[in-house]
Symmetry: C2
Subunit: 658 residues, 2 copies
């Protein structure tokens, strides 16, 4: 027999959102809401009442929101999260004896089968509620009880009494959903962000000189004026010398080769130090100050691995796998050897010491004002470590953003997102056809995945020069930029390689850049007239001006009769802003076709023309109905980014749009 | 930091089957297997090993089954359940350090980059395993370690050593799936059963005389010879007199009206007594003995409600809702009143007393040899009660079968199945078109629903005479019988109304039978030449002979070019028996069309003809390829039940089929 009261007759199940049975939180940003649904039912035909309860981790008590019945035993309610940090929600439901009685009385009165005893049952319910009520409601309920005692039909049906009764329900046998489901609430930047990655050492104004943090500081306005929110640097720590890689990933470095910033650690220090050739911690502080002045946020790259020269190797030999011959195990993907990199051995008996030290790396840079980290290859370190370290950091600093740089199998990417990463790199770079894009972004924005994974779309990275970009020239870069910036509320590019559409791979079939900045200094001609700088600035400005592009969940694809043309829209919840994007996916040829707008976006009863305004070209078109024609020339601009303006009234020959 | 060891690097998630996070068991019958899948992965690229563990509730220890890798981080294993009762299963997985090393050695040796130190790493692993091994394996492993110490490529690649090592894995950092998931194992009849319902009081050989249990005993061979497994009786308890219902549910009974068997309880007793007009407990025991002799099982109807004359009403007034005027609350669906029925008040403070008494009703009849119960309207009693009482009964008598008679909203029906009902009535009676049938049976047999709900298909019941049966005449009954008996491994009919295709409703628009046996005696002319008796016997015989029809999960629908023709197949796991059914859903007209067999059933490379043998008509047809023609005349037989016989060899002009 249940230890609990067997008279709890209500079932609450099928709660959504609920990630892996409540094991992981759903994610929101400040100001967003959580819409909770559940199957709630009882035996028989009694009426139910249900509430959603939520609280911020700092709150003493739960806030209750009445749930509404939808259909098919499904109930719903929502709450808004207005503080960064953690929330919880749960559900309660009970048999609503008064509403059951009232509903039955309506039927009895309609059929004139109401009997005195039916009213007396009501008297009991109202008197019981009076016993639970405070003054003056108690007196009011007592008066209603007296009225019912006279078998008053008017009293039984009275709306005011019904509302009053709803304030004092009999919740003795209420069912409590047994879980308190978590929500992680981040600041807005977690959901909506434009990232720009560059190598500080390549922005020296003098060709051949190693760029510094001062040069990078001077370069920040270039990034800000292009409209980006976050500037992200590859690791800025001392670079190892042992087994240093040369240009184009050569295993033998020349004496003047600068090495890969991801081979972290040298005599000068490790993950908490600045590479001497870049400057000092003082220079870094000045860079942070300038970024703040410009409204730019700085993201650092956290790559938990060491060069053989990292101080950890001597100080904590147990953090690395020692081989039987006394050497340390370097990174290996047999038969390939990466002798310049020592991975941590997370199976070390001193795993607690290792975890604490790695956590202190985050805290060190947080102490320097950094609030955003791009984490390198998180899928090669234990999941339990990430869940712990992100939890620890966010407990103290809930505004910190972690971007997961995992390009690996889908379940691994989802696992990292679930356990706490704020944003995640995606397969976007390799999704080029309409079918691929529609399928992938439907998975990301219309399934449960959206509750825990926030996509960040990168058309390129220092490691990823896709075939599409290699062969598509400038139009390919434009196409991928528009897709990234409008399909994703968060996106990023690695520049200046991107805006200068650098497209030469190290070798045929490779996705590595030729003369990659990963292994050498580069000097970029930023003033090239064909640079995409202005175009990117325009797209970022469109993003800022159109809140529809600040979120992903409203994404809707529209049918087109040309497989080379993709068409989709996003809109704000209140429909005050709708953005419609059409892109020619073919970087080589003009493509044209009919797009058929989803009736959810443009209702079929819209008989009047409406205006679509291309924010890229400033052209305006009058469209009508579902089907409209587009033609996109990659040599000019292979995309439209329209806002839709619905006509609000017509006076004689003048049209007004809102 | 995890209290647990932070070195447990493997993640186990997405386990299936797992009903509501393990809250409810999956269902199987003896001899069936449970195929368990899970997403299992670790960080990095290490090789994994995983095991499925299971045990019967009586076992001391778990049995381990190695899991196989499928694809996309999905692993699988299965186990067979061979005892009635409860099983549990769970999962464990660990990084397989030896297989990781061996896989890397294969690559190194292939690229000739293998170094002495790589072998020494292997030596360590093999020596560690030797430490875990028992003799003589310990010595064998020591010898392998010595061989590896000489950098022997042959030793590193040796299969025998690899198999030996797999027996002594290093499971120190093994991940344990945190749940032990339950399986309820029933006897075969829970999965595969043909039910026949009749009213004992209507089988008196003399018209007008109240039938008795002795008459029913004599009638059992009629049921057995029609091929049924289970004979099910409406309640056989004393029938109340107060507010007794008359013929055709009239609110005023004539003095000779027999009343509804569901108005349970009178001076002569309640749920543990036999209605005096039916006979005595002695007669019941004789009936049970005769049923056993015939190989028939007896199912009783458990309807937990009382007539006003039930002894409980006086003995336990607190089990009923007392109204303020001192009367007892009768059943009501305002404005309808059912004054002949008092429902139990499950919110009584004495709910424990009520629960225990109701449990004792099951135990009483189990004491009389009953092992199968059809539970009336379970959705009007609390879910917690059913979960408890079914659990209690099955703990002591795991072979008991509970059929849930809930015709209500889908989530409620699923909830009852999840909490323990062995079989469930379904919406089958109202699914008549091809689209409806395909959609519904896909939900029942291809989704997670099949793990907990075993459908039992009834074309009619004493409460349900569907419009399809009202207007379709004898062909409609034939069609619904074939569908029920072949779509469902379990099905049932309410007879003799069914085999005599009684089709007059009480009134137009009603699904109640006219002159329903629920309220009066009926005398049936069982020898009518148009009775479906022989046809039903043939269908039941086909069911028995064809194991493909003993299970539901293999159900597969095939395309047809005529919406009135539905086509589907079932087969045994080993494909030794395949049954293909084609039914004309139109009871009025001959329909013909092409059916296109799913290539999973008939591979497209099947160029040779194959034989389909209609077990109803004994006709045999030679078919070829996917598309074949059928023509079904409802005046003759509106269905084919084929077995497929694939040709095995040809000698000159003679064909041999297996």
């Amino acid at each position: 027999m249940p230890a609990d009261d067997g008279r709890k007759r209500v079932v609450i199940e099928g709660v959504s959102p609920e990630i892996d049975g409540g094991r992981f939180p759903v994610k929101r940003t400040v100001g967003e809401s959580v819409t909770v649904e559940a199957d709630i039912f009882t035996d028989g035909h009694d009426a139910l009442a249900a509430v959603l309860l939520y609280k911020n981790e700092g709150d003493e008590t739960w806030t209750e929101v009445p749930m509404s019945f939808l259909l098919n035993d499904r109930w719903s309610a929502q709450f808004q999260v207005d503080k960064v940090g953690r929330y919880h929600y749960t559900l309660q439901a009970w048999v609503d004896t008064f509403q059951t009685w009232r509903r039955d009385m309506v039927k009895r009165i309609r059929a004139a089968t109401d009997a005195d005893v039916d009213y007396l049952v009501g008297v009991q319910l109202v008197e019981d509620a009076a016993g639970r009520a405070t003054l003056p409601d108690r007196n009011r309920l007592q008066r209603w009880a007296e009225a019912l005692r006279t078998s008053s039909r008017a009293a039984a049906l009275d709306e005011e009494m019904s509302l009053l009764m709803a304030r004092y329900p009999d919740r003795r046998f209420q069912a409590n959903y047994p879980k308190e489901l978590p929500v992680t609430v981040d600041r807005e930047r977690a959901r909506y962000s434009a990232w720009y990655e560059f190598f500080p050492r390549s922005v020296s104004p003098e060709p051949g000189r190693h760029g510094t943090l001062r040069d990078a500081t001077a370069h920040l306005s270039y990034v800000r004026d292009m409209g980006f929110d976050i500037v992200y640097f590859p690791p800025i720590h001392p670079i190892g010398k042992t087994h240093r890689k040369g240009k184009n990933n050569s295993v033998i470095a020349e004496p003047d080769d600068v090495g890969s910033p991801w081979a972290i650690g040298a005599d000068e220090g490790g993950h908490k130090s600045i590479h001497p050739e870049l400057g000092t911690i003082g220079d870094f502080r000045k860079l942070m100050a300038e970024a703040k002045r410009l409204g730019l946020e700085v993201a650092l790259d956290i790559a938990f691995q060491c060069s053989p020269d990292h101080p950890y190797v001597k100080e904590h030999p147990s953090w690395f796998r020692q081989r039987p011959d006394g050497t340390v195990q370097y990174a290996e993907n047999p038969p390939k050897k990466y002798q310049d990199i020592y991975p941590f051995d997370f199976e070390t008996p001193d795993w607690r010491g290792l975890w604490n030290e790695l956590k202190s790396v985050f805290l060190f840079w947080i102490g320097e004002g950094v609030r955003t980290f791009r984490v390198d290859n998180p899928h090669t370190k234990p999941y339990a470590f990430w869940e712990w370290v992100i939890g620890e950091v966010k407990n103290a600093h809930p505004d910190v953003i972690f971007l997961s740089e995992a390009f690996t199998r889908p379940k691994v990417m989802y696992a990292l997102a679930k356990l706490g990463f704020t944003q995640s790199y995606t397969y976007f770079a390799w999704r080029n056809t309409k079918w691929e894009l529609e399928r992938y972004f439907t998975e990301l924005t219309k399934t449960q995945v959206r509750e825990f994974l926030r996509p960040n779309l990168w058309p390129n990275t220092p490691d990823i020069l896709t075939e599409y970009l290699q062969f598509g020239g400038r139009p390919a870069a434009v196409i991928r930029l528009v897709l990234a910036a409008t399909l994703g509320a968060s996106y990023g590019i690695y520049g200046p390689a991107f805006e200068l559409f650098e497209n030469r791979p190290r070798e045929s079939g490779s996705e590595e850049y030729f003369d990659s900045e990963k292994y050498q200094l580069r000097h970029w001609n930023l003033n090239r007239p064909d640079s995409l700088y202005d175009f990117i600035a325009r797209v970022n400005s469109i993003r800022r001006d159109n809140p529809a592009l600040h979120r992903d969940w409203s994404l809707r694809f529209h049918r087109t009769d040309n497989e080379n043309i993709i068409c989709y829209s996003k809109r704000t919840e209140d429909s005050s802003n709708t953005v419609l994007v059409a892109v020619n996916l073919d970087p080589h040829h003009t493509q044209s076709g009919w797009i058929e707008l989803d009736p959810e976006e443009i209702p079929p009863e819209t008989h009047r023309p409406y205006q679509v305004h291309d924010l890229l070209s400033e052209a305006r078109y009058l469209w009508q109905g579902q089907r409209n024609y587009v033609e996109l020339n990659p040599k000019i601009v292979p995309a439209h980014i329209f806002t839709i303006r619905r006509r609000i009234r017509t006076e004689r020959d003048f049209d007004y749009y809102m």
